[in-house]
C-alpha cells in the first residue's frame, strides 16, 4: 500500500536532519512553483536531478512515480495549447495549438517534474514516522502530527479489513457490474469500513487510556548533530536564494 521505497538508504541525503530536509523541500517547491522564466525552471529541474542522484534513488522507482505525474502532464499538453488564446503555432485540421499555450504547458511540465523529483530526494528519503516527528519539532501542532502518524499506522489495518470484506464478497460470487446490486454492495462495504474504523478507534483509545494516556503525547525523538547538516543547508539555501533572485530580476526586466 505505502511502500516507502526510498525511506531507507545510505546516501548523504538520508543522513541529513529531516527537519532541514522538510524546510528546504518546502521553500524549494514554492520558488519553483512561482517562477516562470525557463532559465530558473531548468536550473530547478537540474538541481532536483542532482538531488535525486545524490540520494541514489532507484531509477526504476523514480520513473514509476514520474509516469503517474506525466499522465496528467500529457493531458495538459493537449488541453492548454488547444484552449489558450494567442497566435497559432501549429494547425492540424480544425485544431490550432497556440504558442503561449505550448509555453505554459512546458512550464507546468518542468515545474511539476522538478518539484516531484526534489520531494522524492528530500521528503521520501525518511520514514513517515520520522517526518511526523520532524514536523512536530518544526512547530506543527501535535494534533496534526499525530493525526498523520496514526493515520499512517492504521491505514494498513484498514486495508486488511477492506481485503477481508472484499474476500467475503468474492467467495460468495460477487462480481462488480453496473447494476444497483453492485452499487449497494459497495455502499455496504464502505459503510462497514466506517463502522470497523470507529469501533477500532474506540478500542485503540481505550488501550491508550490503560497505559496512562491523558491527552499529551511525549516524543522520544531526537536528532544527532552532524556537520553535514549545516553544509547541506548552506549549499541548498544558496541555490534557492540565487534562483529566487535571478527570477525576480528577470521579472522586473520584463515588466
Amino acid at each position: 500500500m505505502i511502500s516507502e521505497a526510498f525511506a531507507s538508504g545510505k546516501s548523504i541525503l538520508h543522513a541529513i536532519d529531516p527537519r532541514i530536509k522538510v524546510v528546504l523541500a518546502t521553500i524549494f517547491s514554492f520558488v519553483v512553483a512561482l517562477s516562470s522564466s525557463f532559465v530558473i525552471l531548468l536550473s530547478g529541474f537540474a538541481t532536483a536531478m542532482v538531488l535525486v542522484m545524490v540520494a541514489r534513488l532507484d531509477v526504476k522507482e523514480v520513473l514509476k512515480r514520474l509516469a503517474i505525474l506525466w499522465g496528467f502532464v500529457v493531458l495538459i499538453w493537449i488541453l492548454v495549447p488547444l484552449t489558450y488564446p494567442g497566435t497559432t503555432l501549429i494547425r492540424i485540421g480544425p485544431l490550432g495549438f497556440s504558442s503561449p499555450g505550448i509555453l505554459i504547458a512546458a512550464q507546468i511540465s518542468l515545474k511539476s517534474t522538478a518539484i516531484l523529483l526534489s520531494l522524492m530526494a528530500l521528503l521520501a528519503t525518511m520514514p513517515i514516522a520520522t517526518m511526523g516527528h520532524a514536523l512536530g519539532c518544526l512547530g506543527i501542532p501535535d494534533k496534526l502530527v499525530y493525526l498523520l502518524l496514526i493515520t499512517y499506522r492504521y491505514v494498513f489495518v484498514m486495508e486488511q479489513e477492506y481485503q477481508r470484506l472484499i474476500r467475503a464478497m468474492k467467495i460468495r460470487g460477487f462480481k462488480p457490474g453496473t447494476n444497483l446490486h453492485s452499487y449497494q454492495s459497495y455502499a455496504y462495504l464502505v459503510g462497514m469500513l466506517f463502522v470497523h474504523a470507529s469501533v477500532r478507534a474506540d478500542r485503540v483509545s481505550k488501550a491508550m487510556k490503560c497505559r496512562g494516556f491523558t491527552g499529551r503525547f511525549h516524543s522520544l525523538w531526537q536528532f544527532e548533530p552532524d556537520p553535514r547538516n549545516q553544509i547541506f543547508a548552506v549549499i541548498m539555501s544558496l541555490i534557492i536564494i540565487l534562483m529566487a533572485t535571478v527570477e525576480l530580476w528577470i521579472q522586473t526586466i520584463h515588466s
Binding site: L149, R203, G212, L220
Partner: protein, 242 residues
C-alpha cells in the same frame, strides 16, 4: 479481613449494555496477591467486559469496585490504578499504535512522567527480557502476529504493573510462540487473570479456574477425569500422550 492481600474486590457488580442486555449480574469476585487465575467461558459471556469494567473503561450499572483497598468510582480513581494493572487486549493492533516498537513500549513510561532516558532504559530492558532485543526500530504494523503479541506484552510490562489482565494472549499463535509466551508468564512475578479457551495453556500458567455463565462468575475447581477419543497418524502403535 486481609485488606493487604486483596487486590481487586468486586461486590454485587453488574453491567448492562446500553441496549439493555445484562452481561454481568451482581458478581462477587475477589482477587488476591499472588493469584493466577484462568477464566474459561464461552464467547459473549462477559469476560472481556469484566476486564474493561475493572479498568474503568466501562461504567458498571451497579455494585462496587474496590482496587488496591480503595473504592473506585470516577475516571480519576481509575487513572490512578491503570498503570498498576496491565490489560493485554485481544487484538494487538489495538494496543500498538506507534510507528516503531520502541516508541510504543516507551509510551506508557513517558505517560507516567518518566524522563526520556528512563523511559528508553525501561523499554529496552523490557524488550530484552522478552527476547525482543533487536526489535527497537522495527515498524509495528510490519511485525508478525506472534511478534505483535509479545511487543504488546512488552508495552504493558514496561509500566511495571502489579496485576495483569490477559485477554486470550495465546489466541492464534503458533505452537512455538505459544510455548514461548507460556514460559514468559511462568517466569513473571505477577498476579494475573488469564482468559483462554485452551486448557493446556491454562493448566500450565494458572492455579485456579473460574468460569462465567449467565452473567455470573464461579470457581470451577472440579477436575473431571475423562477420556476422549481422537485420531492421529500411526495411532495403532502403542504411544503416550504428553
Amino acid at each position: 479481613m486481609d485488606t493487604n492481600n486483596t487486590l481487586i474486590n468486586l461486590k454485587n457488580l453488574s453491567y448492562k449494555y446500553p441496549g439493555g442486555k445484562t452481561v454481568l449480574d451482581q458478581i462477587d469476585f475477589k482477587f488476591s496477591k499472588g493469584d493466577r487465575i484462568g477464566l474459561v467461558a464461552p464467547n459473549g459471556s462477559g469476560k472481556t467486559t469484566l476486564f474493561h469494567v475493572i479498568m474503568g473503561l466501562l461504567k458498571p450499572s451497579g455494585g462496587t469496585i474496590e482496587i488496591f483497598g480503595k473504592e473506585r468510582q470516577k475516571e480519576k480513581d481509575f487513572v490512578d490504578i491503570r498503570h498498576r494493572i496491565g490489560l493485554l487486549f485481544q487484538d494487538a493492533d489495538d494496543q500498538l499504535f506507534s510507528p516503531t516498537v520502541i516508541e510504543d513500549v516507551a509510551f506508557g513510561p513517558l505517560n507516567l512522567g518518566k524522563s526520556k532516558e528512563e523511559a528508553l532504559d525501561i523499554s529496552r530492558h523490557t524488550l530484552d527480557y522478552l527476547g525482543l532485543k533487536d526489535f527497537e526500530n522495527r515498524i509495528t504494523f510490519k511485525l508478525s502476529g506472534g511478534e505483535k503479541r509479545l511487543v504488546s506484552l512488552a508495552t504493558i510490562l514496561a509500566m511495571q504493573p502489579e496485576i495483569l489482565l490477559l485477554d486470550e494472549p495465546t489466541n492464534a499463535l503458533d505452537r512455538s510462540m505459544k510455548s514461548r509466551l507460556i514460559s514468559i508468564l511462568q517466569g513473571l512475578d505477577l498476579s494475573y487473570i488469564l482468559i483462554s479457551h485452551e486448557f493446556n495453556v491454562l493448566s500450565e500458567t494458572t492455579q485456579a479456574f473460574y468460569s462465567m455463565e449467565d452473567g455470573k462468575i464461579f470457581r470451577d475447581d472440579s477436575v473431571h477425569v475423562h477420556t476422549h477419543e481422537h485420531s492421529h497418524k500411526i495411532g495403532k502403535q502403542p504411544h503416550k500422550h504428553a
